[in-house]
């Protein structure tokens, strides 16, 4: 039985600098492995739609005739199944998390005809 066992820690914390990361003002460098959001280098994409099949939350839609690759950021759970499945390795996991938004919208990537 002892009193004030935490006094050393709280006194030290009170006199030394806080541990807080001043987030919106100071941004931290993300780790290399951090799963943020799925990025697609659309010009390499062959629209095989393997990612669409592998996606456990059906966030990805591939429209092969229109050469459009779409992702619903509000459905993606950053599991990376599509990245593992991609045969052309055009999909990658970016470290930056997707931003909050007042509306749900689908992000779509369109491949230019000239790159064919």
């Amino acid at each position: 039985m002892a009193h004030l066992t935490i006094s050393k820690i709280i006194t030290r914390s009170a006199v030394s600098k806080y541990a807080t990361r001043l987030y919106p003002f100071v941004k931290r460098e993300p780790y290399k492995n951090t799963r943020g959001h799925i990025a697609n280098e659309i010009n390499l994409c062959i629209f095989c739609s393997l990612c669409q099949k592998k996606c456990p939350t059906h966030a990805i839609t591939v429209k092969k005739p229109d050469k459009i690759w779409e992702i619903d950021r509000m459905k993606c759970i950053q599991c990376g199944a599509c990245v593992d499945a991609c045969p052309k390795k055009c999909l990658s996991m970016d470290q930056q998390y997707s931003a909050p938004s007042p509306v749900k919208s689908i992000e779509s990537f369109h491949q230019e005809a000239s790159t064919l």
């Binding site: 004030l4 709280i10 914390s13 806080y18």
Partner: protein, 291 residues
Amino acid sequence: MMDTKNLLEQLLWGGGYLLLAPLAGGLLAGFDRILTARMQSRKGPPVLQPFYDVFKLLEKRGTVVNGFQNFYMICFLIFVMLTGVLFFSGGDLLLTIFALTVAGVFLVLGAYSTNSPYSTIGAERELLQMMAYEPMLLIVAIGMYLVTCSFQVRDIITFSAPIVYSLPAVFIGFIFILTIKFRKSPFDLSSSHHGHQEIVKGISTEFSGPTLALFEIAHWYENILLLGFVYLFFAAFGPVVAVVSSIVAYIIEIFIDNAYARLTWRFTVRASWTVAATFGVVNILVIALLK
């Protein structure tokens, strides 16, 4: 015959308390939150945060469960203010303590009137807390009377010797019950600053919007009044030392708040009565015998 100069001085002090106490109380609360945050190794809110909170609450729509609830809350605020005016204009210390109790009763009635189980338990605990700290508060008044031969604050404050020298044990006992009055851990039974407890916010659960703002403001008034009691113990050292002592007492309370877990009401009542009976009564007996 009361001369007009005295009356004017009383009015000035009373009015000054009404105007400045919420300002000082709010700043003190802001300081409290920053220091608490630092002790928890956080950055903490800006010093004006308590004012932002109160102004925001005034902007919100209030939801009222029972019309009496707001009435009781206004009574609580008015009585706390009245108590403060009584004290700071140099009035009777005993009357101050009883007026403070009446204010507390209004708060309890307000919480009871809402019929919510959380609030009811909060109110019950508030009554138990009042039971716990009341003896010690009275001992403070009695001790000061024994030393200065007056219950009048204006006589106590002008007493030549520092009261803390004659009543050191009473002072320690008072610091002990201050923890209850400031609603700080380990005795924040009836409500808590952060709502992480079994009865949510306890006594203030059902108050919202402007009514909650009144609760906060009343709390600021109350805090300044209580620090006024600390001031009395050190008054003879001069105002600077006395104010600094009051602030140090407040910092000690913040430290205790951060260093203890919340205890149960059984323990609170037992401990505060034990403290009152040992520290308070022994100190008073010694004073009485030496006279």
